[in-house]
Every structure is written in C-alpha cells, then in structure tokens.
C-alpha cells in the first residue's frame, strides 16, 4: 500500500509535465512560493484588519454600554458628536500640537547631537551609548520619573537644583509647579527626552553614509564647513530626516503612556488616544469612541501616505 501511494509523485517529478497540466503546475509553483508568507499575512489580516472593520461598523451605531437596551443605528450622529463635542475637538488640536512639537524639537536636537557625534573625539562610543539610554527606559517608567523625580514642586530635581543654585547667592529660589503651570510642555519635555535619541540614531546613520571622498574634494576646493553642511550634508540627510520625523510621528500620534501618567489627560493635555480610552473606559460610549477611532485612522493615513512614499524611495535605492 505504501509503495502505491508513493509512486505517482515520483513519476510526475521526473517527467516533463504534459501541456494540459502546465498551467496547474505553474499555479502550484506560485502557491509554493507564497506558502511561507501566508501564515504571517493571514495572522496580520485577522488580528489588525478585522477589528478595524468592526470599529467602522460600531462607529455608525449609537451604543452606550450603560444602556444596553438602547442600541440603534445612528447614521453619522457619532461623527457629528466627535466634531461638535468640545473635548473631542480639543483633543484633536492637542494631538496635532503634541506631535508636531515633539517631532520637530527632537529632530532638531537629534540632528545637532548627531553632528556632534559624527566627529572623532575621546570617548565617542561611550557618549553614543549613554545617549541611547533615555530611549531604553520603559515609557511608563520614564513618565513616572519626570512626574515625580524631576517635576515635583516640593522635592523634584528641577526645583532642587534651583534651590541649590539660588542658595549659592543667598537668594530665595523660585519654586514653580512645572506640571500645573505648563502641563502640555511638561508632557512634551518628557517625550522629547525619550525621542531625541531615536532621531539621533537615524540621523547619525545618515551622516555616516555620506560619501566622504566627495566631501573631502569639496574641502580641498575651499568649501567652508557651513557650505559643506548646507549644500552637501543637508541634501543627503533630507530623506533620513523625513524618515526619522515620519516614524516618530507615527509613534507619537499614538502616544498614551506619557499623557496617561503625567497629567492623566487633565489640564488640556488629553490627546486622541487618551480621549478614546476615556470615552470607552469611563463614559462607556462605544459608538463615540469608535467614531473617534476612525477619525484618528483617517488622520494617520494622511501621515502614513507620506511615510510610505519616503520609505519606498529608500527601498528602491537599496535595490538599485
């Protein structure tokens, strides 16, 4: 019995396929190529795309889990809520400001630090290593660190340093309440601290991929440091800056940890992810939370389109 089962495949493999089967064989070869990909692809479609389809459906339904008997199709009423509700609208603005400020400031700082690290100096490897550390602190832990150990008005490091510094001159130090005075800036500061290393790493890799012979040639021809930076380094870095900024935006638009921990969304720092979390967790308004989720996705698609284009140029370059 076993020989009878094993025989046929051997025969077909050895002989050239008949014409009738050639298409089927081709198709089989195509599937053989695709087979290793399929588990990952199916998994990702099931776990990431399906829930989102459900979100779109729920976003059209008026559904508050506190009133389980009052669930009905509400057309666009949830979307109207999202755009008329003041807190929702504010959280849209907060998200934009938070993302733009954090991305721009950390990209500029990251670029400056990358330029510093691009030159040879004593202990360069060590400085690079310690600069990565802020990125490797668990985000919640970093937020707790900033909230309690740095910003705290009574015993935080910032006010401690102020006391110590003014004490040198025998003056009384101002003791600002950092988080209450500038809540959004406080959140931004913590995020900038964490994301500058990320930007720095990508930009440093960009700097180190510059064609050094061309720059050397420009120097010999008498180009100043500024000219080399402005006309050679910056154009070369452009795509790296775009990539760093866009990847950063994708993560920071979704930021939840810092807002949740430092201000609990209070004092006008609630961004969209936090507001959605709140709608869903505290207000139990499933419909509104879903509609807000769809709005976030549409916003992200705008960023993502640019991001994909940037990444695709890098990918093409690599394959050239």
């Amino acid at each position: 019995m076993t020989t009878a089962v094993q025989a046929p495949p051997r025969a077909t493999v050895g002989r050239p396929a008949p014409r009738k089967d050639s298409k089927a064989l081709e198709r089989a070869a195509g599937w053989a190529r695709r087979a290793p990909l399929l588990p990952a692809l199916i998994f990702i479609v099931l776990v990431t795309q399906l829930p989102f389809v459900v979100t779109i459906i729920i976003s059209f339904i008026n559904w508050n889990s506190l009133y389980p008997n009052d669930v009905y199709f509400g057309w666009l009423s949830n979307y109207v809520n999202v755009f008329t509700d003041a807190s929702m609208r504010n959280s849209v603005f907060t998200t934009i400001i938070l993302t733009v400020v954090v991305v721009v400031v950390s990209a500029v700082l990251g670029l400056l630090i990358a330029l510093l690290l691009d030159r040879r100096f004593f202990g360069r490897g060590f400085v690079r290593t310690i600069l990565i550390a802020p990125f490797l602190i668990v985000p919640v832990a970093a937020a707790l660190l900033w909230k309690h150990a740095l910003f705290n008005p009574e015993y935080g490091l910032f006010n401690g340093v102020l006391t110590w510094f003014f004490g040198l001159f025998g003056a009384t130090a101002p003791q600002p309440d950092w988080i209450s005075d500038n809540p959004l800036v406080a959140v931004e500061a913590a995020l900038i601290w964490q994301w500058t290393p990320f930007m720095m790493l990508i930009l440093l890799a960009g700097l180190q991929s510059r064609p050094l012979d061309v720059i050397e040639a420009a120097r010999v021809d008498g180009a100043s440091t500024w000219q080399v930076f402005r006309y050679m380094t910056l154009p070369h870095l452009r795509r790296y800056i775009e990539l760093a900024a866009l990847l950063g935006s994708i993560y920071i638009v979704q930021n939840f940890d810092a807002v949740f921990t430092i201000t609990s969304g209070g004092l006008g720092t609630a961004n969209l992810p936090y507001t959605i979390y709140q709608q869903f967790f505290q207000a139990h308004d499933y419909g509104a939370a879903s509609a807000a989720g769809v709005v976030v996705v549409i916003g992200s698609i705008a960023i993502a389109t640019f991001a994909l284009r940037t990444v695709s140029t890098l990918l093409k370059e690599e394959n050239r």
């Binding site: 190529r33 695709r34 290793p36 990909l37 990952a40 692809l41 998994f43 990702i44 990431t48 795309q49 399906l50 829930p51 989102f52 459900v54 979100t55 630090i113 510093l116 030159r119 040879r120 100096f121 004593f122 360069r124 400085v127 600069l131 990565i132 550390a133 490797l136 602190i137 668990v138 985000p139 832990a141 707790l144 660190l145 150990a149 740095l150 009574e154 015993y155 490091l157 401690g160 006391t163 110590w164 601290w193 990508i202 960009g206 990539l243 990847l247 979704q254 949740f260 921990t261 969209l272 959605i276 979390y277 869903f280 499933y286 939370a289 989720g293 996705v297 993502a304 994909l308 990444v311």
Partner: protein, 308 residues
C-alpha cells in the same frame, strides 16, 4: 617630520627668496589643522556635556532609588546621602503591598512568547519576500507597514468585545496574540532587510547541492543572518515589554503586566519617591539590557531596515 623627509619643494627653497605658493598653502593647512583640533576638542567636550545632560535623569533615578525615602525627598537634593537597597526591598514586597513578581512574570511571558511566534512567522515570510520573492512582494511589504500605521487605539473596542465574548479577557494569551500582531510588521521588514544581504550565490550553491528548504534555513540563512535575527528578536521584546494601552484595558488582575503595575503603583500619600525610582529601574532593566545588546542593529531595526 619635515627634517627627515626631503620632498621636492624644500629642494627648491634656496632658489627663491619667497616661500612658494605650495608652501604657503601647506602652512595655512597646518594652521587650519591646529585650529580645527582645538575646535574639535571643544566640540568633543560639548558632546560629552550633552550626553551627560541626557543621561542625568537616568542617573538621578538610579541615585534616588538607592537612597532612603527621607533622603530622596529633600530640597535641595541630598546627593551624598548614605546608599541603601531599602527601596528595592520595598518594591519587591518586603514590607506590605502587592508583589511585582506576578506582573513581571506576565510581562516576561507575553514578551518572550510573542517574540518567538513573531520570529516563527516573520522568518518564512521574509524568505518569500526577499530570497524567493513572490510577484508583488513590495505591495505585501507596504501592506505590512500600513498595519503598523493604523493606530492601536482604533481597534481597541472590537478587540475588547471579542476578547470578552471568547473569554480571553485578562489572559496572557490575549496579550501574546496582540503583541505578535503589533511586532510582526516590524519583524518582517527587518528580517527582509537582513535576508536580502545574503549573497544569492551561496543560496544557489546550497540548493544545487540538494539542500531542501529546511536545510537551507538551518545551515545557511540562520548562521549568516543570526545577528540580524537576534536583534530583531530583542527589538520585538522591547516593544512588547513596554506596551501599556492594550495591557491596561484588557487585563485587570490575572494578566496584569509590569507597566500596568507601575501605573497603579503610585497611590500612597506618604514618601514614595525612592520606591518609584527603584520600580522604574527594575522594570526598565530588561529593556536596557536588550537595547544595549542590540545597539549595533538598533538603527536598522528602528528604521524598519531602511537605514543601515
């Protein structure tokens, strides 16, 4: 150096009273070099200062975690207070309070298992996208990437409802599934970039010698791309370990993870700063270790393989 080497210009020296243009240029270059080394030292110093400035909150956290509660909460800060491990003992549950071990173990399980599944799924997928690519491989790549751009929060509610219906709510298994989907696109992109670095000739030679797919994986791909695969794993581990939003919504008691434990940790009104710092250090420790281990490939991973 100038005395030992007799280059052409020095020979010509006696002929002209004035230094030749070449010599002038050399003198200028020497002067430039001197001022450049001076500036270089200053910039090096600046780099050190910036580096120390950035790491100072981490050092402050470390120092505070080693102080007693009363010494941690002084103004101005007491830098030279005696060191103690009380805060760590306190965090790990020496005195009352919940033990962090269940949360740490849950985090470790969710991170390690999801990373293992990610590797098992991403490695074959990357093979089908780089070594023997399917027809529209770049479309598939961008599909993977686009899922990463879909905000997590948008799928939160359906996931919650599905998890509740299937009884997966508050289970580590649910977190493993979600973290796998969260990291799979990153891993596919990273792995593809590592696999496409393998020379085609080696793979062809192996398959001509009659090696089957499994043998090629075991004897060729894994040895060559080993470091890349390892750093992919470390980065996936870091992202899973750090995750807060899913964990805080979908777990309550059984499957609580370390970041969730941290958020629920600061409730007491007394002095707790040293304990918070100790907790933050303890929870960040695995990430710091993994991150520094993956340091060389960190850029390539974070940029999804786009930057080398």
């Amino acid at each position: 150096m100038t005395t030992t080497a007799p280059p052409v210009p020095t020979k010509r020296m006696p002929l002209t009273a004035f230094p030749s243009p070449k010599e002038l240029a050399r003198a200028k270059r020497a002067r430039d070099r001197q001022s450049r080394t001076k500036r270089g030292m200053l910039l090096g110093l600046l780099a050190w200062i910036v580096g120390l400035l950035f790491v100072s909150p981490v050092l402050w956290m470390l120092l505070t975690s080693l102080h007693s509660e009363t010494n941690a909460a002084t103004n101005p800060p007491s830098l030279f207070a005696p060191l103690t491990l009380d805060a760590y003992a306190n965090f790990f549950g020496a005195n009352s309070g919940a033990s962090p071990w269940p949360a740490l173990i849950n985090s470790a399980m969710a991170s390690v298992f999801s990373t293992a599944i990610v590797l098992a799924l991403a490695l074959p997928a990357a093979y089908a996208l780089s070594i023997r690519p399917i027809k529209k491989w770049s479309d598939v790549m961008f599909f993977f990437l686009s899922t990463k751009m879909l905000p997590v929060v948008a799928g939160l509610l359906p996931i919650y409802l599905i998890a509740r219906a299937t009884g997966l709510l508050d289970s580590v298994l649910l977190l493993i599934i979600l973290y796998t989907s969260m990291n799979l696109p990153i891993a596919v992109w990273m792995m593809r970039s590592f696999l496409s670095e393998i020379p085609v000739e080696i793979l062809e030679a192996a398959s001509i010698d009659g090696a089957n797919l499994f043998t090629i994986f075991r004897r060729v791909i894994i040895p060559i791309s080993g470091p890349g695969i390892a750093s992919t794993a470390l980065i996936c581990f870091i992202f899973s370990w750090n995750e807060l939003l899913f964990a805080s919504v979908l777990t309550s008691t059984q499957a609580i993870t370390a970041p969730v434990f941290l958020t629920g940790f600061v409730t007491s009104q007394g002095l707790f700063l040293a304990k918070v710092c100790a907790a933050a250090i303890a929870v960040s420790f695995p990430v710091l270790v993994a991150g520094f281990a993956a340091q060389d490939k960190l850029v390539q991973g974070l940029s999804l393989g786009a930057v080398k």
